[in-house]
Amino acid sequence: MVTTSTRIAHPLGLELDHIDHGYTIGGVFTPVLDDISLSIAPGEFVALLGPSGCGKSTLLRLIAGLEPPHGGTILAEDTPISGPGPDRIVMFQDPTLYPWRTVRGNVALGHDIAGRKDQASVDAAIELVGLKGFERAWPHQLSGGMAQRAALARALVNDPRVLILDEPLGKLDSLTRLTMQTELHRLWRDRGFTAIMVTHDVEEALLLATRIVVFSPRPARIIADLPIDLPPHRHRDDPRLLDLRKNILTQLGHSADW
């Protein structure tokens, strides 16, 4: 298992300071992020919730360093982020596996880039996401959920200091989803990285996160920032969870009667 790995990353803290961002679509400038300020402590598990298209993935791209923000700064341990780096690993919304690499080759991508040889951690990550036996499969031979799990394994082998997850379990069936949630939670506790996860599933956010940030529709502003002061082992039927869930759904503009 991955937990036998001796490398335990020390988590990275992040400071987002008045972030603005936008895109020009069809000649019209569209603001996407509006004055986002957020301070993420090392080792936190932050869940980002917000309506579709509000700018969550965009914010993750900025944190990853794939694009510079139009306004504001992002500090990682007091140094401004100037580009992508292997301390901040992203699991993208789409699996984007390389079709010319087998599952094993895809999971080993980070090792190849860094020039490391570490077959054991690759196999461990593949086993962790339940893809043992599919090491030699090509991506086109995987189901959507399997591809997503392979992408999760590819992110995990890098021992990131921040793991950035964009709807990591979105394509999984509800049972696999439960297992993966447990695994994700265990990994986060064992390895102690900082986790930032976008999800559409309020319950998932409540089960995993130490803090939930809720965004407005585009351009995204932070409309709620809720610490979840619950013990790490949470139960789905915990009444405090149900209360929080109601609260968040109201923030997101849903009636929470059902």
């Binding site: 992508p84 780096g85 984007t96 010319w100 980070g110 880039i113």
Partner: protein, 333 residues
């Protein structure tokens, strides 16, 4: 990954190949066709040997022996059950040679120097194999150097065009100006400004192979999903990795289309360059044969050339199947 056997046309759905049909334990019929292949060639041998020639042709008995040998080989193949899928073709060829032998060598229906007999062709191979082989080697050598350089440059330039704005700014106009020109149009110029005709031919072949390879590599690299780069970049990949390990493999299907097209243009350029320039190789042999009205030699050279071209295309497709084994399906050559 791919099965090399092409299915024979008269197979039914429940017997996917002759081998499964004769598996022990199954009581289905043994296919008959493989047993006909040998006799078809024995017939060709018999006709060649017993039916008197219409004229004094060389090597008639030699040819009969060859036909006989092929018939024997096919019979052995049938016994070993190695002939199932190719049997119809083997039969058709045997009957075809028989017909050719009858029409031309025995009845002499077609005007003579332009249309040869099978024994004429065999005679060329028996007497002139050294020069034919030498020409083949020359052609192959010229192709290897010219096409090799052109293909390598094409991939490199295509990647440059796809990845670097400054490179694209300077190189694209040149490509647009020179690329679409048929390489043979540059032949006269090349022979003037390049002192060695061999070097000039190699340069033209490189141009012939390079243009399609460049364009298709370029389009392949431009079409790479930017998300592929993002994935590698977040893991700390530098430009070198992005080019060699992301852009190149992602563009590989397109690159092979370019390499294939380049090979075709190279063949055309090769023949013209050999006829007009280097004075060696199969193209030159053919021109010489035509000049001396040695038509059988021309047919022989044509046959060798066609085998060379199809062999090289097959080689390229084999390489493609290896490199692109990750693709779901590709064209089967």
């Amino acid at each position: 990954m791919s099965s090399p056997n092409t299915p024979s046309p008269n197979q039914t759905a429940d017997t996917p190949s002759g081998q499964t049909a004769t598996k022990p334990g199954t009581s289905s019929r043994r296919p008959l066709l493989p047993w006909v292949a040998g006799p078809a060639w024995f017939l060709a041998a018999l006709v060649t040997w017993r039916w008197p020639d219409a004229d004094d042709f060389p090597d008639t008995n030699q040819l009969a022996t060859q036909f006989c040998a092929i018939g024997l080989a096919l019979t052995v193949a049938a016994v070993l059950r190695r002939l199932s899928a190719r049997a119809p073709w083997a039969i058709a060829l045997g009957l075809g040679f028989t017909a050719w032998e009858i029409i031309q060598a025995k009845l002499l229906w077609l005007p003579r120097p332009f249309f040869g007999t099978p024994q004429d062709l065999l005679d060329v191979f028996l007497t002139d194999w050294r020069r034919l082989g030498d020409s083949l080697l020359h052609s192959l050598g010229l192709l290897a150097v010219g096409y090799g350089i052109g293909a390598a440059l094409g991939v490199a330039i295509g990647v440059g065009l796809g990845r670097s704005l400054r490179f694209r700014y300077w190189v694209r106009p040149l490509i647009r100006l020179i690329g679409p020109l048929p390489p043979v149009a540059l032949l006269p110029l090349a022979f003037i400004i390049i002192p060695s005709s061999r070097l000039a031919s190699e340069a033209l072949l490189a141009l012939a192979a390079g243009f399609p390879t460049t364009i298709l590599t370029w389009s392949g690299v431009v079409a790479v999903d930017p998300a592929y780069y993002d994935v590698a970049r977040t893991m700390g990949a530098r430009n070198r990795f992005l080019v060699l390990r992301v852009a190149l493999p992602a563009a590989m299907p397109q690159i092979f289309v370019g390499l294939f097209m380049g090979l075709g243009v190279s063949f055309a350029t090769l023949v013209v360059a050999e006829m007009l320039g280097v004075k060696s190789g199969l193209g030159f042999y053919m021109q010489w044969a035509q000049g001396w009205a040695a038509y059988p030699n021309m047919y022989a050279a044509l046959l060798v050339m066609s085998l060379m071209c199809t062999g090289l295309v097959t080689l390229l497709f084999k390489l493609r199947d290896r490199v692109l084994s990750w693709q779901k399906d590709g064209l089967k050559w």
